[in-house]
Symmetry: C3
Subunit: 663 residues, 3 copies
């Protein structure tokens, strides 16, 4: 980022919510806390352009001037996140439409159809006005396009979207005949004769065509990318040297971020804990690893997290003392070069006034403010970490598109949820302590020792071939059920399941046997499972464990196959987490994959990740558990500025960052 | 069926989903499996008429030619099940409207308003074109009109439906005044002054008028019948000797099938297990008995079932080995002269690709295919069974209209569900082993020994009189609460409940006392019950059991009344299934009603039904339980082609069909 | 009420549902039961004006004549409760619109937008016609405007409502700038530039602006009041001496009844038990106390209750013998001068035919009818009670607006529900036996000994000051969490929570710590709680109890503060009911607040309330428990007409009314 060094620290800053008298106090507090970067103006459109073509930049000039004077860099928004009321009042046709035909009206945010040319034109005009005005401003470090694009309005079913969808389809399919073949419209008599007959997959009388839906979801994702790209390109033209990004949400299942990430100058994510979960920190790790995957291994930005509770979950559990520090260092450990929050100061009004911030309602004599100051101090000590990277021996093959398709209605069991399968597998790997890359179906696999493939429903012929090659040349794979069942058009591969992986797994699945609600089955190695079973035949593989009850009693549940130089495991049921943990731990041990520190020696809940580069190596150690961990480490511990030469005692809740030396 | 002998065997065949190279292979496999009948072309409209008035029959000519050559008969669809995209694109006014005013768009199937004249005209034109082309085709055995008519679109609330509804009402009511009286519009000030003021019962501010809703549901059912009749009449005119039918769904609560069945040349049903239920085979028996009731005792067709799992339930539990055979023989035992499936070959794409078929994805080296071939073989041995019939001493009085009315909002308890009451009673009778006819409110009752009346909410004065007569002349009845409460206009009978049956039951119910959620009460004979209680006085009847706790402690819960030559029992609460089983078993024993075999001698789960006619008698024996049953039978066992002279050992899961001889 | 003495007794009477032959029988039964007042014609619009401007008054003339002859007074409806079908058929634009843009169609009741001028004009015209015709009629005692106004249609989101809403906003806010400041529209970029940009808070993409919603809810409530006022004013002009009212529903959270009540000549409520709750009688007491609060302490009318079950709850539990008598006397004890029912005679048709009535379906040889006659007799003995009043030492500060705001989305925890907090506090006080006034934020507090403030989320600066003064001058207060958090614009008070009460409670809350679903925590005095905790600092107060586990272990959970002459308690968690009961009992005892009878001496479940005035004093005693209570009382027991001089034995379920003499 232009003019920034070290780990950037800051927040969204919404000065328009406050009297200018507060701004000066804000700057003072920011300096005290060590803030270096602020995202400014995200929701300011109606303030900057209160009427069509009437601009009011004065207040923003003043704010940016104050920040420049204080040496605080600005990640300046182009302010298109929410159009002003005058725009939708004049053009109600820009309002998004749900699948049932009802509209989303203004009153919250993002009340526009992503395909609307009226919205696009106004947004680009505003972007140009802002970029022109602030090009060369001393505070300007980067551009923040819109905000959480498509978070609420990605899938719009209106007639304007229908036109755009047809255009998108014509670009993808040579002819209506090719589309009919891809969608399988001969099923239920849906054959189209003209492009204009095609609509978004609106509310229908029964189950819609799955490929129609998949294409619409990809179109919707692509339209959001197009919104970003159009606004970015205006900014690039005016300030070619200023990096441009937008804050994406890897946990948000609506987007194909693999196709979005390459358009970002730097990958920037928002992450919020699923706060009521006791293991929310594992989900955080996965989000961070996803961000790193999207960034292709380069450092990335944590653009938003919360200092404590948010306001939009059912029960907004607040953070315990030290938890914000651990969360922040988890992100840095896994490649983040910034730690930023929504938002600087808690709002006094509006829909998110109960969202925590760096300056809480109760002021500076608070747990939150003290921890904010402490975190600024710690990040200051980690300056050298910036720019270093993380490497992993294990890759988790992940694809949002498989989730869209697998979680759709009219599939074998409502209990099979893509996110559940991925989370379970990631959790098992996290508990082993190994570092995992989240990789896309197009990522080069050859560098990895182990590839895990949890319920990757869609596997096209190219990926099928590459996975087989990966294993044949010495790679290892763990695959769970409902992987490789369909191709990119959602057509089933002919023959026994899973068509795309059958050969390299050495199995043939004859029929699915989903389990009843709550039904549990047992395996002959003592594992337990639920949700799923299937009738499988061995075709080269050997059975690792078999079902001892349930609908396919006596048949294999877990298999292992030696294919060429590598090995592949297949799991034909939804193992209980503890059973999956045991299985994965065994495989990792067998493959001699090494975590950053020996996990056998530390109590559960310790997280260890290594960032390295430029000849330096930094070991991050975070103790989420409730026992003190004793860890061998050599070097300088940066948080407490102490020299380690041997055993580090890491108390429950504590963190350490060791600038390592050879022991 | 024209040109068919024995039990027809086959499936829906959708060749348009496959390359013509597959068709020849299909025919070969069909012959191997003993297929004799196929339903062809059901969803072919958009293939046969890809643009308005442009027909493409070539592919269908070829398919029918192949089948004719192979000697496989065709149940040819008129292909109107789903209109092609070009029709709704040109005429969006044909799209169905939900009660909230939103539309159902195309993308699935059946996206049309049943009252739409635009749809009707196009459908009749297509029907005529198909009938004209294939009249006299050697493969043509019968006509299959549309498909599961009204399955998703029966109740349309659009303005076109409103016009049709008013016409229907004018035919039913002499004047608006008669309508006002029937609907009781003086309640809540709903008196109509003109027909044009009447709308479908759309989303309203509070509870709608119940009689308005009942009439709309009957209208909606009748419009679906009218759709069938209009298409049938085109076919009849062109091919007067070819029988016409459509596949109805007795488990689908949306239709008054008693008024529909007489329009069918042969009753044909679709039946799918509620697969996650362990006792799904009992529901199957009830569906089959309903089909026989609709057919007036004549043989009927099983037009669709599944070889294993379906795709549209929450957890699509697959069939266990042997289960498909048992299911199929249950249908045949209860009067089916065909066993057919959806569909011949599992789809590779579309919304139902996970629906099992005769040829599964995994091919012919599979449990499913082996059982398909075995079933074809078994059905071949049952040729003589075709045309025989089933008789029963027990009738279950059933009416879809009572369900519509009783399950509506603003009734005494949401826990009183018509289907639940009927299922519980049917289950108790099934476990006794007695054969039951499902009969309509207009069926002649005199031939039965026992009439069961579970929660038949609507009983008009004619039925009230006929039930009284039935009992007075020696019949016996078991009636459960909420039977005979209202007349056909849903007006309460004056005086104590149940007005239509009070006299013949010898009771007077003063007030309903619904139970709380989960509340259980006990009876003084050890029975337990829930959901319902009521304050009853004996008026001739005697108490069989009384409540020992709950809101009406000490008052009668079950009564028995001798009225004329017969007896009537009344059950004033929702007995737990085990208690109901005991009660019904006792009554059946007391009335000396005989099941086809002595049930006391066999373990639970054995099903026995007898078909007879033409001087022959066939005893079907199916063991759903997990113990071997030893059954006395004399004659030729057709499945294994063995002679029985005494005890047959029927293993768990096994079936037998005995061509009986006098012992 | 004009021409009425004693406690009025009667019901809604809907003669239009019955043949005139029934009317004469009705009058006879009414006289037998002691009926003195009937609400007539509530849903008669479509009968009285069957076509636009065509009136038919004959039938009503006849009914009113019969009642006048029988000496039964009439509370005559202006019949505007539901417009006739011809009106919405001619003017579909009057139909209400939901937030999602869908309409509510006719078919039930109240299918009109409260802001519709078309509806208003027709309603006023009808009101004038009725008032003109029946002014001076000997039966006319009072006017009943509409019915349960806004019960189903209060919040209409249509364009007509939008226009009215903007007018309402312009009256409230000087300029669009003031509105922007009040709503905090700088959050999420919602700044309005013109009034016409403002819409009702329709379905939006995310959380709407909370102040926008609050204003819309107040507008909607005010529009319903305006409907009432407009119709009332027509009546007042024509019959200035006849009191006018409408039946309001204090338990219905949609209205700000504090602003409505002053428009009523006499406060009249409808009350229905939440019948499946075992403690439904406590909710009844609270509703009655609310009615008395709305009436400013004057007697009020119970306009509707049920004799037994209703039809619109999930499981319509019927009343036990004696329950209706207890319910009725609870209302009278707490200030009701009438006991009336919906309705006189159970309907034979329509949506509420299962709603109990004074004359049940089963006729007069019934529990209900016998109790109706008995109740008429008892009320006759209570003539002197009419006009007396109830006084209380304890006030519960209650405001519907706080419920609207607190229960909205995007707040800290979905488990914090305003009604739950109020009910819990009222229940604890009820169990202490003390009489409680429900008071508004504008009620003068100085007369009370104890003020309880359960989760009163909105406290404006004026109320904040008055509560502080109340305590400073010797009053005592018990406040629970989430009270006084925001001002009347829903802006947070700056600094630690709760800004409006921090000083007088002597505490400072730093951060909220909502608990997880189902999570329980313990306090060091043995209490248990759930839902909520918070991180609090003592600032003058002392800790009464502290958390021993949970997220803020070791910090105060209950505090007490001495501020000036009075004391204030604060409860920072949702105590389990039993713990709250103990806490409140201790505080009441400590403050020496006396219930009407010493509660320590009677078993639980006994309710005692005193009405007095005109030098007389009446002690109402109702035993809801299952043990006989022995109560010291001196005077004449009116129900059984017996003299008491010492101990009264009150059996389970029994009631007594003692005209007291000094002991």
């Amino acid at each position: 980022m232009a003019g920034l060094t070290g780990i950037a620290y800051g927040a969204d800053y919404n000065p328009e919510q406050w009297d200018p008298s507060v701004w000066r106090k804000d700057v003072e507090l920011m300096r005290h806390a060590g803030v270096t970067l602020l995202s400014v103006g995200i929701f300011s459109w109606s303030m900057l352009e209160p009427r069509d073509s009437e601009y009011q930049f004065g207040w923003l000039d003043e704010v940016l001037g104050l920040l420049a004077d204080a040496g605080i860099a600005v990640n300046l928004a182009n302010a298109t996140a929410t159009p002003p009321p005058w725009l939708s009042a004049a053009h109600p046709e820009i309002l998004p439409m749900l699948a049932d035909g009802s509209r989303l009206w203004p009153g919250a945010r993002q009340a526009f159809c992503p395909s609307s040319p009226v919205f696009r034109n106004h947004a680009l005009r505003l972007t140009e006005a802002i970029a022109t005005r602030y090009a060369g401003h001393p505070a300007l470090a980067m551009w923040h396009v819109s905000n959480e694009i498509g978070g609420h309005n990605a899938r719009c079913y209106c007639d304007v979207s229908a036109v755009a969808f047809r255009k998108w389809l014509r670009d993808r399919y040579d002819s209506i005949g090719v589309l009919n073949a891809a969608w399988g419209t001969t099923f239920w008599g849906q054959v189209y004769s003209e492009w204009d007959e095609i609509l978004p997959p609106r509310q229908a009388a029964s189950y819609g065509n799955p490929t129609h839906a998949l294409d619409f979801y990809q179109f919707s994702s692509d339209e959001c990318v197009a919104e970003y790209v159009a606004e970015r390109d205006v900014l690039r033209k005016i300030t070619p040297n200023i990096p441009v990004t937008t804050n994406i949400m890897p946990g948000h299942a609506t987007f194909d971020y693999w196709s979005w990430a390459p358009e970002l100058d730097v990958v920037a994510i928002d992450h919020y804990l699923t706060a009521a979960r006791r293991d929310a920190h594992i989900g955080l790790s996965m989000a961070a690893d996803t961000a790193r995957g999207l960034a292709g291994g380069s450092p990335w930005m944590l653009m938003e997290q919360s200092t404590s509770a948010v306001n939009w979950q059912a029960r907004n559990v607040a953070k315990q003392p030290g938890e914000m520090m651990r969360n922040s260092l988890q992100h840095v450990a896994r490649g983040a070069d910034s730690v930023m929050f929504f938002q600087w100061r808690s709002s006094q009004f509006g829909a998110e006034k109960y969202h925590s911030a760096m300056v809480p309602h109760a002021g500076t004599d608070t747990k939150i403010w003290r921890e904010v100051v402490e975190l600024g101090d710690v990040l200051g000590r980690l300056e050298e970490v910036a720019g270093t990277t993380v490497t992993a021996d294990v890759a988790l093959l992940f694809d949002w598109r498989s989730g869209w398709a697998l979680d759709a209605p009219s599939h074998p069991s409502v209990d099979v949820r893509y996110a559940d399968q991925v989370d379970a597998m990631y959790t098992a790997l996290w508990r082993c302590g190994v570092t995992v890359d989240l990789v896309s179906p197009r990522t080069e696999l050859s560098g990895y020792r182990l590839l895990v493939v949890p319920s990757l429903y869609i596997i096209d012929r190219d990926l099928s071939r590459r996975i087989a090659e990966f294993i044949a040349t010495g790679g290892n794979a763990v695959v769970t059920f409902m992987s490789g069942i369909v191709d990119e058009r959602l057509h089933l591969y002919p023959g026994p399941y899973p068509g795309a992986l059958r050969d390299c797994l050495g199995i043939a699945v004859e029929e699915f046997f989903p389990l009843r609600a709550g039904e549990q089955v047992a395996l002959d190695n003592g594992y337990r499972s639920s949700v799923w079973s299937e009738l499988m035949h061995l075709d080269g593989a050997t059975a690792v464990a078999s079902f001892v009850d349930g609908p396919v009693v006596g048949t294999p549940a877990i298999t292992c196959h030696r294919a060429g130089e590598g090995r592949s495991w297949y799991i034909a049921t939804r193992l209980e987490q503890e059973s999956l943990d045991r299985l994965i731990k065994g495989i990792v041990r067998e493959l001699k994959i090494k975590p950053p520190i020996p996990m056998a020696a530390v109590p559960s809940g310790v997280e260890a990740v290594r960032r390295s580069g430029n000849g330096r190596s930094f070991l991050f150690l975070i103790n989420h558990g409730d026992e003190t961990a004793h860890i061998v480490a050599h070097g300088n511990e940066l948080i407490c500025d102490r020299r380690l030469a041997g055993l580090l005692a890491l108390r429950p809740g504590a963190c350490a960052v060791v600038a390592e030396e050879a022991s």
